[in-house]
Amino acid sequence: MNDIEQFLRDNSPEIPDEGQFMIETNARLNAVEGIKQTVEGEHRRWRTAVIVALLAGLVLGSAVTALIWLYPPQYSQVDSFLAKTVQTLKPWKEVVFGFIAFCAIALSLLFLPNRRRASSL
């Protein structure tokens, strides 16, 4: 072993006692724990809200679909703005629903990374 290597091994720096350091570390970890719990609580609430909205959407959607099947509207006999709009859009229904689906997917893709960024510490 050469001189400089022995010199380095013999002269490693000394550090003060762990006492104060561990007290400060524990205080910081407590603060982090508090933030973590707040963020987790927020996540839980957000997940619950999403599930509730999904279930409500399913129930309402099913009810409306059932009503439409049971009592199909006769647009040709009704002379209203809605009936005219539906008649006009009928040949373009694939395009219209495709556009709505595209917007929904694009919005959810834009929204998800923001949620993730907001939730990271």
Binding site: N2, D3, I4, E5, F7, L8, R9, N11, S12, P13, E14, I15, P16, E18, F21, M22, E24, T25, N26, R28, L29, V32, E33, K36, L121
Partner: protein
Amino acid sequence: MTRERFISEVRACQGRLRRFLASLCGDASLADDLAQEALVRAYVSSGHFVGNFKAWLFRIAYNCFIDNLRRVPAPAVDIDSPEARRVAGDAVSDAAFRHEELQLALALIPEKERTAIALHYFEDLPIKEIASIMQIPSGTVKYYLSVGRDHLRQHIRL
């Protein structure tokens, strides 16, 4: 990893972690601040941790040190100039080192050489582990050790 286990792992290696950071920054109080920043980062991501805790913690601490260097860059001076000695002397008014000349010399050499020297000679870590902490190949660690020793020889009278 539970908090109790995290604390017990930290208690076991905090001395070496703080000494490593003190060797890098030459200031025991800044080293303690960086060590705590590293521990907070480690604690936040400890949920998914598996493997060698000490090496992982040292890697986080090294990244904290690099981040701190980027935030507060060292003054750009030639390491052989008298100005460099004055700047390094200002930065190392600390009692962590028994040998003041060594502290001054470490402050004068490049950060990567200092890191390799500190991990190998002060913490007694094998080359492979140093390579994983610094995220560089083993051959590069050996190169930094060799060049670092040469640079230290220029500043230390043995």
